[in-house]
Amino acid sequence: MSLLFKRIIWGVCCLLLSVGTSHGQEQTRIVLLLSGDSNPYQEVVAGIRSALGKKAGDVSLETVSLQSVAETGLAGLDEIDLLVAVGTRATGFALAQPLDVPVFSTFVTRSSLVAAAADSRTPGVQFPEGLHSAIVLDQPATRVVALTRLIAPQAKRLGTVVNNSATNRLEEFKAAVAQQHLSLTSAMLLEDSNPIRDLKQVFAESDAFVVIPDVSSFNSKTAKWILFLSYRHRIPVIGYSQKYTEAGAAISLFTEPDQVGRDTGEQILGFLKHGHAGNPQNVVRYPRYFSLAVNPTVMDSLGLEPQTIAELKQRLLQLESVVQREAESE
């Protein structure tokens, strides 16, 4: 066990010991445990505070970073009613503790959440069932496919590539594509794959290409070829970040830190009202809020109908709702 990790454990123990000694009865005590101090985490916190609005006065909202837990401990806090873990490292740390308080993870990806949960299953540490819920950053496949239908209505065949760590996401996309009566061509890109050769086969059988985000090293190795081939085959790419759009994707769908914060804040309001951190039937859910980034140059060159982001977003929300209702009725 590393020295840093020991210090973190010690800090949280101090926090937990202090919880029962000086906490008042009126206010709900919520700790936001941040994976880091950098801007994105601060924006998540700002979003949470903004969402709490007037209710913020009714709760004790403490912000603590993993780094400060390691360095100074958390003495001074009396009691925790809810621990909000912001980011992967904070989630991994929280899940590894024998806590008896609800933990709400946010600003994490689904795969990192799964990995953190797997890592937490260490001997002697049992996380109470039902006390953990989360909002993940990944976009639901249903939403991504619906967006593709909106910007490229003629596209009936979608394409994508994944590596072997994203097979679960691929299955989710296959289901979403089938549900919306489209088809999906995919390829598995491994370290020894010829990316251009394999991507060309996918592009040859696709009308639109959906980027399923993976670890950044995989994303960066494939992005250039995906964007080049999209130009060559005149096929729109649906990316996952503003930068992907700037680099040449027709459109990107993503959730920004302040939007996750707002979503998280509303979840906290639910907790204050109902006393639990998440919906027991849906303890891990996708983000409610999202942004779109359109590349008008690419859209124009591909002959795609120009639409304002506001219009597109509204239509996407409506279509996503319809698709969900259809899924529920089936």
Partner: protein, 671 residues
Amino acid sequence: MSKWFFLVVVLAVSVPSANAGMTEADLFADVPVVNGATRLQQRATEVPVSVSIIDREMIRASGATEVAHLMRLVPGFQSYSVLGNQLGLSSRALSTDFPGHLEVRVNGRSVYEPAFSTVVWSSLGIDIKDIDYIEVIRGSNTPAYGSNAFSGAINIVTLDSLNSPEVSLRAVAGSIDTREFSASHAGSTKHFNYLVSVLSRENSGFPALDEPKTGPWPTHTVKDDMRTRQFRLQGLYTPTLDDEIRIAIGVGEDNLRLPENDVRGYHNREFDSHFQQVSWKHALDNGNVTLDFYHNYLSIKDDTVLGRFSELIGVPPALAGFPGQTDEVLLGDIRDGLSERYHLELQHTFDVAQQLQMVWGGAFRVDRLGSRFLIGDDDIISVEQYQLFANADWRFHPQWNMNAGVMLEHNSLVGTFASPRVGINYQWTRSQTVRLSGTIGKRTPSLLSVYQDTAVTFSDGTVIDQVGGTDGEANEERVDLLELGYLGYFLDGALSLDVRVFHERLRDARYTPDAPANDLDGEQNLWRNGLRWDTDGFEAQLQYRPSRKWLLSWQYAYLDLDGVWEEPGDPDDLGNHLPTHNTSLLLAYRPTPDWELSGTVYHTSKMEWTGGDEVDDITRTDLRLARQLRLGNWQGEMEVLVHNAFGDYVDYDDENIFERRVFLRVQFDLN
């Protein structure tokens, strides 16, 4: 939320543990952006220098037919015509026939020619339609790319096999007997992607030079026409997800007729050139490694015939000889020459820590030069050069990042020297950055400037006129640059403003003042160190792209140069060797997707071209009307280009009268 959000996020988000799978950091990580400022993948807001990008949209809208002319869209750059087909490009440096203070690369390959200490633009081997974008570093970039980037650095990135149309054809015809044709084909085999392109160009140069010219001989029609043929092959092979291998080869020939005091009024110069380039990029878990090799070869044949010695000095043939000599026909200029460069470079880019990225590497280069006329010897001279470089970008605060870099160079001409740079950037909002940086740039003297020994001689070697030589000493040139810059994006990125003020102090520059010689006229031009000048400047670039319909790009530079061309008995104030005001405005409008109208106005205030003449203010207006065409699966465009629509102007030399020129350009692409 602003597009520049990610710029902050990518460097600010902590790196997760390796076994966590995809994390929030992966979602917000940058898609790689190539940047020539520091060799690191950075955005314009993060670099320590001013960067101008000329993209395809600007290239098309400009209506330019010469690559060098595109640089007029960069603040502070002067593109000029030494002759109709001998182009020059300079930035905050003296505008000579052979300007050599800029590093120009094509896809990372330096195209600087050691024989001329400059870039031979006619031998570049690329058509303007093949350019994807041009990245211009406005200011010394020696800490990243070494000696040649003394005043700035240009990287021309061409389309490759994946983003080129499957077939592309272009033809241009019009004024000055212009006939151009280029074609390219992009294809692939199972494993290999390739792009083949051919280019043919010819024109007759400045019409004004065709006027009968007086000289020592009966008048002749002067020619400055050009004919060039180029072939290029680019290949791309990606054997694994981690490996990318690129090759490029090119072959070309150029025939230029250059006005000269030749018995014909011109002389022929033929360039035969070829190059080979191989680069391998390997992705690592942390960063990447690139290995790059290239070879440039240029042979020169020149047939200048100066005439009979007696005619040159204006005496009867019987009286012409030096003691012991008889009258004979004299030859001049380069005659046969060779210019060659080998370059091998290894570079490693990686993250030292979460907020600290670094690139370092080394290069080995050999420059070779052969020309009996230029260096007075049949041997080929060569110089080996070693480079060791490192650049780092440290984001020590979400709003602050610091760049530091150094280039160490060593060669047998001047020994070892270092070019360091440090800069700090502050982003007070996500879309606005101020920057302060200091650079000390060093430049090794060119091979020619160290070894030149040019003379017009009798056939037995007796010197008649010692044209040029060197004083026997050679030291590195030095430039100290301090700049304060601002870069702001507004209206969700549609409007950008790039401003910099700078002070540049140049010392020990190589130049060729007159010096005594033991020959017929008693003087020669002798290379020596010693030229110095100080420049205070202000540059601005504003771009506005509110929609696909409009494009506006405005460039302006104010330059105040203080220096003296020191020459015994004839010092020359250099203050007017740079234009005080230099501006350009590009405006393009697309009323419908099928029509586009664009115009560019260039203005340069009165100046004295160092190798040319003093000329008044120049204002040039280029116009372009374009119509999109469709022919089955072919996408086409027809353009009418008018260069210098209103009134003639003098370009560099009093005899270079740039008149109105009209061209028709047609292109068809099959995707």
